[in-house]
């Protein structure tokens, strides 16, 4: 029995190690490329340890590419669309989770089905409409689109969380004569702080990562976001690996840093909906 246990443990760790390498190695490789000099990048067999490391790629990428404006644009879009989206979604989620009204199921399914819509079907008309109302190539345009696109997922996730808050607490509030607004702002919201944090994080990630709309709706440095700049670089055949690495690493860093601090919320948000239904 004891040997079987040891054997099981060894097999388990072999499997997990393979999985860990499979997940971590591409990230390591990309970051290591960003610290390599040209002669370390363009060799066969590949160099696996960038030694001595160089910061030249970062310097060149920042000086010759549109990285800093793109970084700024991504930050602005994320910082403005996220709080608006979470706030509006929490209002709607409260209504769906806690209040009784006609047409609730219809609205709920309507919102859910918006989640399934392929982006392109909206992107085409939005592209034309934005040209008419002069919102194309503007950060405001992206902010509006992201705010809307984050909403269905947020409403779905938050209403799931809100439903879990025990009715008794709210009923006590009702007996005390709370208005729905007071219920929302002083009972439900404070109790659902972890859920709000989770949906905040998802909004931030979506805004930071979104590509399709950004590609279609932005053209110049005044509004191009990081994903658009990176995607643009990946197809300059072979020549700028170092700079590509540096740009990608810069886009990755905030996400990795965020991830370390918010793991718990991320997990909660991801699993909540899937297990309850």
């Amino acid at each position: 029995m004891a040997t079987k246990r040891v054997l099981g443990k060894i097999l388990l760790w072999i499997g997990l190690t393979i999985f860990l390498i499979w997940i971590v190695f591409p990230i390591y490789w990309a970051i290591s490329v960003s610290f390599k000099s040209g002669s370390q990048i363009y060799t066969w067999p590949p160099t696996y340890f960038p030694f001595p490391p160089t910061f030249q790629n970062y310097k060149e990428a920042i000086e010759t590419r549109d990285i800093l404006p793109a970084f700024r644009n991504s930050l602005i879009v994320m910082a403005i669309s996220t709080p608006i989206s979470v706030l509006l979604a929490s209002l709607a989620a409260f209504s769906l989770a806690r209040l009784q009204f006609r047409g609730k199921e219809l609205i709920r399914y309507g919102i859910l089905s918006i989640r399934m819509i392929p982006g392109i079907i909206i992107a085409i008309p939005v592209f034309i409409i934005f040209r008419w109302v002069d919102l194309h190539d503007k950060l405001l345009g992206l902010i509006i689109v992201y705010t809307a696109f984050n909403m269905p997922f947020n409403i779905w996730m938050l209403s799931g969380f809100f439903e879990e808050i025990p009715r008794e607490i709210e009923e006590a509030g009702l007996i005390d004569g709370c208005t729905p607004w007071q219920l929302y702002s002083s009972i439900i919201l404070p109790l659902a702080t972890p859920a709000l944090v989770a949906s905040f994080i998802f909004c931030m990630l979506l805004a930071w990562n979104e590509f399709q709309f950004a590609l279609i709706l932005t053209f110049t440095n005044s509004s191009k976001t990081l994903p658009v700049v990176i995607a643009g670089m990946t197809y300059e055949r072979g020549t700028f690996f170092g700079q590509m690495g540096a740009t990608g690493a810069l886009a990755m860093l905030p996400v990795l840093a965020l991830g370390i601090f918010v793991q718990k919320y991320l997990l909660q948000g991801l699993t909540a909906g899937a297990l309850k239904g």
């Binding site: 246990r5 388990l12 997990l16 499979w22 997940i23 591409p26 990309a30 490329v33 067999p45 590949p46 509006l88 979604a89 209002l91 709607a92 209504s95 209040l99 009784q100 009204f101 919102i111 089905s113 399934m116 819509i117 392929p118 392109i120 079907i121 909206i122 992107a123 085409i124 008309p125 939005v126 034309i128 409409i129 809307a148 696109f149 009715r167 009923e171 009702l174 007996i175 930071w208 990562n209 979104e210 590509f211 399709q212 994903p227 995607a231 670089m233 990946t234 690996f241 990608g248 886009a251 990755m252 996400v255 965020l258 370390i260 991320l266 997990l267 991801l270 699993t271 899937a274 239904g277």
Partner: protein, 308 residues
């Protein structure tokens, strides 16, 4: 218990009285306003365009009513049809591989033998979930580089010659598939792991006492209990797979030719490289209906399963 029932009665009485109240709608109003103006209106607009010739490159967009022509065109467009087929192949392959791998690794992480390192390992798996398609595609392009990439180096250790990944239909498609598996397996695994952790230990122990093998336990107990999370994962991943765009754009740009171009990428090119907005709208509309149908079927299946 008594108090509980009274409270329920009070609140349901209130709920009935509230039926004519506008408050619930006031709470919904801001989000619905945004969704209607940014999502619903454009869709209707798009539906309208799909009956017109609408070319961004022509003066006045060359606007002309063409009836169903844009829709009929879809059936004649061989490239469109082949990209639809590839999109479905991709989705079926990606979802099934991710489901199997996700299940294997979820089982590993759920093992009692693992102990403390579990949280750390799970933390590592959260990383791909936070990554964008663009950054992931960019990473794997470096990995797959035919001249200097580590994938070809790894293969060369086994005596396989350098593969020009982007140059052939099969390798270009595999590249997208492999990258997608990297990106999405951790998500599948985490959902399944959460499901596994919900299974009461006593059930499995009771089965062991009755002499059930691990495999029997998995088939008879674990799988039926995981039905719901599995279905959820399959629905979400199927929708994502059918809509894949970012990876295609970054890894292959649909090439060589259009052989790795998925349906979303094909429509994108139609609209923004050939400027045939009308046709692209018709294509995206038809595709949306396909997605809705598939989701509807899934949900019906889910409901039926839930009824048992």
């Amino acid at each position: 218990m008594q108090l509980d029932n009274t409270l329920k009665k009070i609140s349901s009485d209130k709920a009935i009285k509230k039926k004519k109240d506008v408050t619930p709608y006031l709470f919904l109003f801001p989000s619905l306003l945004v969704l209607v103006s940014v999502v619903v209106t454009p869709i209707l607009f798009s539906f309208g365009i799909s009956f017109f010739q609408f070319n961004l490159n022509m003066p006045g967009f060359g606007l002309k009513f063409v009836g169903l022509e844009n829709y009929l065109y879809i059936f004649q467009d061989q490239q469109m049809i082949s990209s639809i087929l590839w999109t479905f192949e991709f989705t079926i392959l990606a979802v099934s591989i991710e489901l199997v791998l996700g299940m294997i690794f979820a089982q590993m992480l759920n093992s009692k033998l693992l102990g403390k390192p579990r949280d750390f390992i799970r933390g590592v798996f959260l990383v791909p979930i936070m990554f964008s398609g663009v950054v992931t595609g960019w990473m794997w392009r470096l990995m797959f580089d035919s001249a200097y990439g580590p994938v070809n180096h790894f293969l060369s250790l086994w005596g396989i010659e350098k593969i020009p990944w982007g140059a052939n239909l099969l390798t270009a498609r595999s590249m997208i598939l492999i990258t997608d598996i990297w990106l999405a397996t951790p998500f599948v695994m985490l959902i399944l792991l959460a499901g596994l952790q919900n299974i009461p230990n006593e059930m499995l122990e009771a089965a062991s006492i009755d002499g059930a093998s691990n495999w029997q336990k998995f088939i008879r107990i674990v799988l039926p209990l995981l039905k719901f999370p599995i279905m959820v994962v399959v629905v979400i991943r199927t929708m994502d797979g059918l809509r894949i765009f970012d990876l295609v754009r970054v890894l292959t740009r649909g090439g060589p030719g259009i052989s790795s171009s998925t349906i979303m990428y094909y429509i994108y090119q139609f609209a923004f490289s050939y400027f045939q907005i009308g046709r692209a709208a018709a294509m995206s509309f038809s595709f949306m209906i396909i997605i809705f149908l598939i989701t509807y079927l899934y949900i019906r299946l889910l409901r039926r399963e839930a009824a048992y």
